[in-house]
Symmetry: C2
Subunit: 147 residues, 2 copies
């Protein structure tokens, strides 16, 4: 099992601000993909759609201002059953976000791609919370020939 790990800081924000961006449709459509539907609260399932397919996430944990955990219940075969952890804490004027996409079966080329694409969406999340404007799909940053 191999994991994708990331860390960003969102300046001038609180963990509650980032938590809202992860647990509401207004937040998720502002930084990940404009085509987001469903229920992003605890025990809900959210459908994220992109030009080439998408993912369904079940919200397994949601602790306000602290932590969100998604389990992938639909989408790309390599993602099914993997988990996405969001851990939030305050460090002075920054909200520190520790991100882990856990449970990949092998370090495939698609996993390399997803690691970098997650970084670009984390920068979008940072911009969305800091400045009110992210770069959600379909206007996301193109990192390679795949998307």
């Amino acid at each position: 099992m191999v994991d994708i790990l990331h860390r960003i800081g969102v300046e001038g924000s609180t963990p509650e601000d980032v938590y809202d961006a992860l647990t509401t449709l207004d937040g998720l459509t502002g930084w990940w993909t404009e085509q987001t539907t469903g229920d992003p609260g605890l025990d809900g399932v959210t459908e994220f759609r992109f030009e080439r397919g998408g993912f369904d996430m079940k919200v397994v944990e949601a602790v306000p201002g602290r932590r969100v955990l998604w389990e992938v219940v639909g989408g790309e075969a390599e993602w099914i059953g993997t988990k996405i952890h969001w851990d939030l804490r305050q460090e002075g004027p920054w909200t520190v976000v520790l991100f882990k996409h856990e449970g990949w079966r092998e370090p495939s080329e698609f996993m390399h791609h997803c690691s970098t694409k997650w970084a670009s969406f984390l920068f979008s999340l940072k911009d969305f919370v800091q400045n009110g404007k992210g770069a959600p799909a379909p206007n996301d940053f193109r990192i390679d020939d795949w998307d």
Copy 2:
């Protein structure tokens, strides 16, 4: 042992263009850090310096247009002995870059940070080769409270 994995595509370039950006001082100062000295050719050691410290890399493999492998021989304790793989190939108008920073002893918070920071420098490398202008330190993208 855990690894950092990434994949970027550099549009309108050849693997030789990216190889040059990885194996010359003009290239490395254009996307990673302006304070780069030493010998980035095979068997050479290159010193990369940042506001807070830096890294010395030995070039262990260098196959023109195909592959570069660095071993970290100086710098942060967590980096010493780790290896950084760059694998290049052409896919139509794209050069695909597979990146692996291999051999971390544990998935520390610093490793989370470095994974995301590498993504930001890979975007800088992409811009440098595509458009002639990267964002090397000290004008790099600030990802969090650490740098």
